[in-house]
Symmetry: none
Subunit: 242 residues, 2 copies
DNA sequence: TGTTAAAAACTGGTCATACCAATGCAATCA
DNA sequence: TGATTGCATTGGTATGACCAGTTTTTAACA
């Protein structure tokens, strides 16, 4: 009743661009960490000038939705980064005990991703998972695969949940891991010859998702990530030997 | 205190200008309704180009601190008339699909809380849950209980997970919920006489946690919160899971 | 042949300039 | 005196250019 009339305000071009990019992020068509087309490309795509695009990007930057690095490009940030990660990132580095909690939260979130993925994954997404799995099958006999392949596999599962918030929250949690010891932990697996076990677990997870079995997918993901939590405990007991 | 090193990021000129104008406004040297010097004047004053000034003004405009009218000039807005919230909050409120996603993520997190609580809850924490439950039993016949009691119950469960990160993450998600429509949704339950059903679900959750049965606690929490998601779907258009 | 170093191709950051459109003010005219 | 016209001001947009980092490609080297 009070808002029957919409304010008459000629919308600026840059505001329109802000709206469009925000919508793309909401819909998940622009995922966290993904790259936004260059200012020049966006300008030609939208049929506007570069300053207009720039003004939009500056606004999105100020809102914390994107991040620009000179020469590097513009990237989508996690929506939950400043509300979840910022207060935590300092705490985690000062208190390694929290890494255990963090890995536990990750189990909860990723198992939920697997659950949702088993419900919502498209055939294309299943094919992508299969492809990543195939790559791991090939590299397993050599002792393991690069950490980035592992990351891609887990990310693809979360992406298949078709839930924008889930993707952003998990991306935030994952960045906290990356900021600390994830890579070191992964290298640890390689040296200890865990490749075959990890591969089998990945196969089990993928198989459950393909079979559209949410509960099983969740269970297999919990088993898989519990290893991480376990190894984390061993790390936390021993002091760093660097 | 927690951050020993400052972030290494070259500040852009426009950001510097935003900071300056923001400071002038908060110091009261630029009062609401007052006019900001023209873009061209500001440019010469600060010794920068007009586009840089424009980018700054656009950011301040998006933040709701100033308002520009073509040909009219730029004016400082009164701080109270349009308080600015977290951009994520705005996106969620304007995006039904995100709201649905949010409730789904909440199910995943809270069911995990219930799972962990069933493993880690102390007797004191179980007693606290019992106490909250007793309060709900008393108030159920009157049609329901205050929303805050419900919040306390769920918070107590997450707290019993004994996981600092889990508490923080769920707090963030929950505040997002509260900032949007949780209260309205809860009032909806009261009017529709859901009190008895919700009470029974709470009893089931508590009972599973007391019995140290993580899987059952998780299952009961999922059932419980799925009602929220379901009601949400009725509020909105059926999600399409693009 | 494999590694490394130079260079070329982006990409964001900044600037200068020009023109359009809306506004506000003031001189002008009825 | 009051309404109107006209001009200067201001924000909105567009081009084009150059600088400064980054990334990728290429080419030289060991």
């Amino acid at each position: 009743m009070t808002t029957l009339f919409k304010p008459i305000k000629p919308k600026k071009i840059s505001e329109e661009i802000v709206q469009q990019i925000k919508a793309l992020i909401s819909k998940g068509q622009l995922k966290p960490g993904e790259r936004v087309p260059s200012e020049r490309d966006l300008a030609t795509m939208l049929g506007v000038s570069r300053p207009s695009v720039r003004e939009a990007i500056m606004v999105l930057d100020a809102m914390g939705l994107v991040e620009s690095r000179q020469g590097g490009g513009t990237y989508v940030r996690s929506l939950t980064e400043h509300s979840i990660a910022d207060p935590l990132t300092g705490m985690v580095t000062n208190n390694p005990q929290l890494l255990y909690d963090l890995s536990e939260v990750r189990i909860g979130l990723e198992s939920w991703s697997a659950y949702l993925a088993a419900q919502n994954a498209t055939d294309e997404e299943l094919a992508e998972l299969e492809q990543l799995l195939e790559k791991m099958r090939r590299l397993a006999p050599t002792g393991g695969w690069p950490a980035e392949v592992d990351t891609q596999f887990h990310y693809a599962i979360t992406s298949a949940s078709h839930n924008t918030i889930q993707v952003h929250v998990l991306n935030t949690i994952h960045s906290l891991f990356k900021a600390t010891i994830e890579v070191a932990l992964f290298e640890f697996y390689r040296r200890e010859g865990y490749a075959q076990l990890l591969l089998e677990q990945h196969e089990a997870i993928f198989s459950a998702i393909s079979a559209r079995n949410p509960e099983l997918a969740r269970q297999k993901m919990i088993e898989h990530l519990s290893i991480v939590k376990q190894k984390m405990s061993e790390f936390l007991v021993k002091p760093t030997n660097s």
